[in-house]
């Protein structure tokens, strides 16, 4: 299947941001008709490597050969011309807000130098429909604004757009972190097809199971340096070892569960919106509960209701045996309900602020006297969280923007674990987080969930199986099952998650 001559060869690629050395002397080559995966911890330099390859950063060191010819891209356009297509990690970087769905799909027809001068809506929509078909997106209303569709739909649009260009090299930076398993399998089918047609594919993901399943070869980046190559047959443990070294194999809870059973949160016939069925749920202290379901199952809606963002229609929420009814987030926080929202860039991060300021944001009342901030206390608290959660950074004063995605996520989680709480809700806490950081966070949760409890929302089974005590399945707004993790049958769970009707 492999040609002898790689179609793209990257030699000794280095790149720094100010004092941070993001990449140093990294070598990879990509062959026709293979799926090559790059793995590495958060902040290892994967996205940076890709941005160099696609012409976004023109000021790198090293050489890139395409079909044996030394090439230097000055802009993303040059990479396009050379047949390189990229789906970037951040969805926000892939869609254009002011445009319709059709325009986003057929963006190329608008922006390329060959694009016709006159903008013809009909042609754009026609072309958009063709592109949409590739990823089963015909059902979308082509004329609606891109802002009105869901994250996963946006991601699918970006992928469809990249495929439409018939690339030589297709680069996907964590494409699966915001789409469902079903959509992911559809994506993989498409990738296999492209591979067989001779396209070279560069794939990045933190889901090692995916990596194992689809890759022909795996390249590792470790701390910005070349970390080795792995060939089929792949073993997850082997990948992990190359990536981050030895990991503790099993997570352990460091306390005795038996004597902490106190009912913390109880939902009684809670109806969230007009069309959904009542939800019943009990969460005890010391428990880590998983809530799993497809995209759009209503998990976030439930979380938002518990956190005071939405109003329920009927039913009751009881906290420590007392019925509560939050009118806003502030009240929920006061009652000890904390929530890490999904999509940290949009919902959680204050980009121009330090790690410390990001961590203490919701609890400034606690960290101030008569309104004046007690910075010493803030520093102490954030140093402690940075240390305990293993946040990789230059210090509590570093800007959160300068952290890698996984570490940013840790900061956001740290924000809500900082203060005593009854229950913390984590909505997709591991999106884009590397395996080691996941372990770190999970370990931290397991060690520190004693009087309180955790509700962890995810669409990834394995993620939850590792950490939780119990897993509930949500399907179209209903809780279909609620079982101890130790007794779970993975296949049965999967079918419950995806079952129709």
């Amino acid at each position: 299947m492999k040609d002898k001559q790689p179609i793209i060869k990257a030699i000794n690629i280095s790149k720094s941001f100010g004092v941070t050395k993001a990449l140093s002397k990294v070598n990879f080559d990509f062959h026709k008709g293979e799926i090559f995966s790059i793995v590495g911890a958060n902040g290892a330099g994967k996205s940076t490597f890709i941005k160099i390859l696609c012409g976004y950063y023109a000021d790198y060191e090293g050489e890139i050969y395409i079909d044996g010819k030394l090439t230097k891209f000055q802009s993303p356009r040059d990479a396009y011309e050379a047949g390189i297509q990229v789906v970037h990690q951040s969805i926000e970087q892939g869609i254009v807000q002011n445009m319709s769905v059709a325009e986003n799909l057929a963006l190329e027809m608008i922006v390329s130098p060959e694009a016709p001068f006159i903008y013809e809506k009909k042609k754009i929509i026609q072309r958009a429909k063709e592109i949409a078909r590739k990823m089963d997106l015909e059902y979308l209303d082509m004329e609606q604004n891109i802002q009105d569709i869901t994250q996963s739909q946006k991601q699918m649009i970006i992928i469809a757009r990249a495929l439409a260009r018939k690339p030589k090299l297709l680069i996907l930076d964590e494409p699966t972190s915001s789409i469902s398993d079903r959509e992911a399998s559809m994506l993989f089918e498409t990738l296999y097809r492209l591979r067989d047609e001779g396209v070279s594919i560069l794939f990045i993901s933190h889901y090692l199971a995916e990596i194992k399943k689809i890759s022909n070869r795996v390249g590792v980046i470790r701390d910005g340096k070349f970390g080795g190559l792995l060939y089929q047959p792949l073993e997850i443990s082997q990948i992990v070892k190359k990536m981050v070294g030895n990991l503790q194999s099993v997570l352990e809870r460091s306390y005795d569960k038996k004597n902490t059973k106190k009912l913390v949160l109880e939902l009684k016939n809670l109806v969230i919106d007009g069309s959904s069925e009542p939800i019943n749920m009990k969460i005890y202290s010391g428990e880590i509960i998983g809530l799993i379901g497809l995209i759009g199952a209503g998990k976030t809606e439930l979380a938002e209701t518990l956190f005071g963002i939405r109003n329920s229609i009927s039913g009751e929420i009881k906290l420590n045996g007392k019925s509560v009814n939050f009118k806003n987030i502030h009240q929920a926080i006061k009652q000890g309900i904390h929530m890490v929202p999904e999509n940290r860039t949009v919902n959680a991060i204050i980009p121009e602020e330090s790690i410390k300021n990001n961590i203490t944001l919701p609890f400034l009342n606690f960290f101030s006297k008569y309104g004046v901030l007690l910075e010493k206390n803030e520093i102490k608290a954030s140093k402690k969280m940075i240390h305990e959660m293993g946040i990789k950074c230059e210090g509590y004063n570093a800007l959160i923007e300068s952290l890698s995605g996984g570490n940013q996520q840790k900061v956001v989680v740290a924000r809500w674990l900082l203060m005593k709480h009854n229950i913390v809700i984590l909505d997709e806490p591991f999106q884009g987080v590397d395996i080691k950081s996941r372990r770190d966070m999970s370990q931290y949760l397991m060690e520190n969930t004693k009087e309180s409890s955790v509700l962890m929302i995810s669409s990834d089974i394995d993620e939850l199986i590792d950490v939780t005590d119990r897993i509930m399945v949500m399907n179209k707004g209903r809780i279909l099952s609620d079982e101890r993790t130790s007794q779970i049958d993975r296949d049965k769970l999967l079918s419950l998650i995806t079952q129709e009707g």
């Binding site: 696609c54 976004y56 802009s75 993303p76 356009r77 990479a79 396009y80 990229v86 970037h88 926000e92 970087q93 892939g94 869609i95 254009v96 807000q97 002011n98 445009m99 325009e103 963006l107 190329e108 608008i110 922006v111 390329s112 694009a115 016709p116 001068f117 006159i118 903008y119």
Partner: protein, 327 residues
């Protein structure tokens, strides 16, 4: 109900406008005469052209505070070329437009290359130009017969052809500046609405990074937006010079805020909530009509600003306040 609200948002502004049009005409029949229509249009051309210019920069999510002063310096340059240097009016026009292009280019480079925030860069530019325009004539207005530094009198004159640009009429009815304004408005409307350039400019305003990653040379487009803004402002300046027939140092005064007001009101027209050429034109005509009508009804001048403000705020509440939006 939803439908009604949507309708109101889309057409509310135009309905208010039509209402005022009717009202003024009923109260003062001469308001409806053709010649008065063109008077209104003539009154708004300069500000209207500037509003079209600033629309470009608003679209790429920028801002150009230097438009008014660019127009003003072009008034001075045109006059200087004709009156002091005694050159042909063609040079006056060419030099003005060249200057407008240059100012726009410098703005664009400051913003794109030196990465100075738009408000800051164009504010600096505004001060700079405001100062610069005074220097050739040592702060004096430029008119035929003015004293020059060497003690002689300026001999040059405003060419008749040049003055025609500002004061002439087609068919003895339609003022030339109105024709220029209309042509510019149509071209710009067309570019923004129906060409890929327009789309890309809007896209840059939506998400600059995404557009850059899609392989567009965003920098070039942003610079182009400022160059267009500068160029269009210089055209406004030439027309203004031709209208007042003198290099008057005070001519830049209220232009900036009026133009910005018109462009911002344009957001409300048809409820698009985005900068757009049609909106800017309608916005500027609306203000002009209001002022004309109110003056005819001899409302004291000092109540006009107030009424203008009230109508503006009301239209805005109507457009923006009615449309529900999540945070």
């Amino acid at each position: 109900m939803e439908k009604f609200v949507a309708f109101a948002i889309k057409y509310g502004f135009l309905i208010v406008m039509a209402g005022s049009f009717l009202g003024f005409g009923l109260l003062e029949p001469s308001f409806w005469s053709w010649s008065n229509m063109f008077s209104i249009l003539l009154g708004v051309t300069i500000v209207g052209i500037l509003a079209l210019g600033v629309t470009f920069t608003l679209i790429v999510d920028g801002f150009d505070l230097s438009i008014g002063s660019t127009a003003a310096i072009c008034v001075m340059i045109s006059s200087y070329v004709m009156v002091v240097l005694n050159l042909n009016y063609i040079y006056a026009i060419l030099l003005s437009v060249l200057l407008g292009v240059t100012i726009g280019l410098v703005n664009g480079l400051l913003i794109v290359k030196a990465k100075i925030p738009d408000l800051l860069a164009t504010l600096g530019m505004m001060f700079l130009i405001q100062g610069l325009q005074l220097i050739p004539s040592a702060g004096m207005s430029i008119g035929t017969g003015m004293m020059l530094a060497n003690g002689s009198e300026a001999k040059g004159e405003f060419a008749q052809q040049f003055l025609f640009l500002g004061q002439g009429r087609l068919f003895n009815l339609i003022p030339i500046p109105v024709i220029v304004f209309a042509i510019l408005a149509i071209i710009i409307y067309f570019i923004l609405q129906y060409t890929k350039w327009g789309r890309i400019l809007y896209a840059i305003g939506g998400n600059e990074k995404a557009v850059k990653l899609a392989g567009v040379s965003v920098e070039r487009y942003k610079i182009a937006a400022y160059v267009l803004s500068g160029t269009i402002s210089s055209i406004a300046g030439v027309l203004l010079a031709a209208r007042i027939g003198r290099g008057d140092v005070t001519s830049g005064g209220g232009l900036l805020l009026d133009a910005v007001a018109a462009a911002l009101i344009g957001y409300a027209v048809l409820g698009v909530k985005k900068p757009n050429a049609l909106g800017s034109v309608v916005g500027v005509i609306f203000i002009g009509m209001l002022l004309n009508g109110l003056t005819m009804l001899s409302l004291p001048y000092y109540t006009q600003d107030f009424i203008k403000g009230v109508v503006l705020v009301a239209a805005l509440i109507f457009t923006f306040g009615l449309s529900k939006s999540e945070i």
